[in-house]
Symmetry: C2
Amino acid sequence: MAPLEEQMAFVAEVGKLKSVLRQTVLAEVGRPENSAEHSWHLAVMAMALADHAPPGTDLARVIGMVLVHDIVEVDAGDLFLYADASAHERQDIAERAAADRIFAILPAGQGAVMRELWDEFTERRTAEAKFARALDRLQPMLENFSLGGGTWQRHGVTAGQVLSKVELIEDGSATLGSYARDLVNQAVAMGILAADSAEGSGEEDQLDG
Amino acid sequence: MAPLEEQMAFVAEVGKLKSVLRQTVLAEVGRPENSAEHSWHLAVMAMALADHAPPGTDLARVIGMVLVHDIVEVDAGDLFLYADASAHERQDIAERAAADRIFAILPAGQGAVMRELWDEFTERRTAEAKFARALDRLQPMLENFSLGGGTWQRHGVTAGQVLSKVELIEDGSATLGSYARDLVNQAVAMGILAADSAEGSGEEDQLDG
């Protein structure tokens, strides 16, 4: 195939992400969010919240990462953040296989560049990846909060579980982490997020951070 | 309001774009596309098709433009590309008012920077804007083609009308323009896009380019 045909095949293939549904329900429309519009929202968040990334963060790279981070779900589907550890392990394997297949649709050099973005997001070592991952964690919290509970209530998620995810937001951005922590406390005070009982407080350790 | 609160208000406001429906029907899922997932697809197209932009094109700027280009539709809604000229004039006014309101939700300096991206896309003078606009025209053609006609058939659009839009794609990218022209010819040959009758061939001049 000519490079343009390979690129167009990739464009068509990733378009399937519009049909991958997430657990998050959109307050505005009362339907589940799909992974394509979620990715768009993260990219606009990266632009709007750029000054909360550490100084020197390469914003274009953050945006590139959030745009491609969920493409693997075309094959692997979306896994709920609060699924158990073994489900996350199976998901990791499926996503890696999906990345091998989907990025390889592009001309070789270009596929490698985009795969690097996906790997960087997944490995969460650079400031860019940490900020991108922080946005990915923050966005569903904002949706749940504006929906008055959302997946927190539907799946019986507790404040302790949400706070274990907030640590990852803090790792990407101090101010966004502190905003998220306030949001959790406010949600508990409003009665839309359950406080933890004493005996259940260690449960979040089993969950993927 | 503190800057972070303004930024978060903007993030929530633009999220409403997920509920703005376009005319394009998605082949994969059989439902109308919304403007948020459309914008995401354009951003990924910008990455995948970057080497078809003129040399020296600032890709990060193209991506910024396609991410924000439809935000005004939160207020103004989406107008079908082949609507008549007076509908396009009314839409332009509504979109400008929407841009005034929505970008002003952000802290002032930041709102101005994002508004500049939107203005640049709208005015279509720079290489970046021309490439971004080319992607915006190409994407629904790809969806219509893969759906076997889509909005072309539903709205009785003819090859001449589509080709008048192809000129704008050629203006942003020679190779993508030629790809789009081939697609139109192929669609006519396959019988999924109507050829023009001799007397109707001037009609596209009334349409917004």
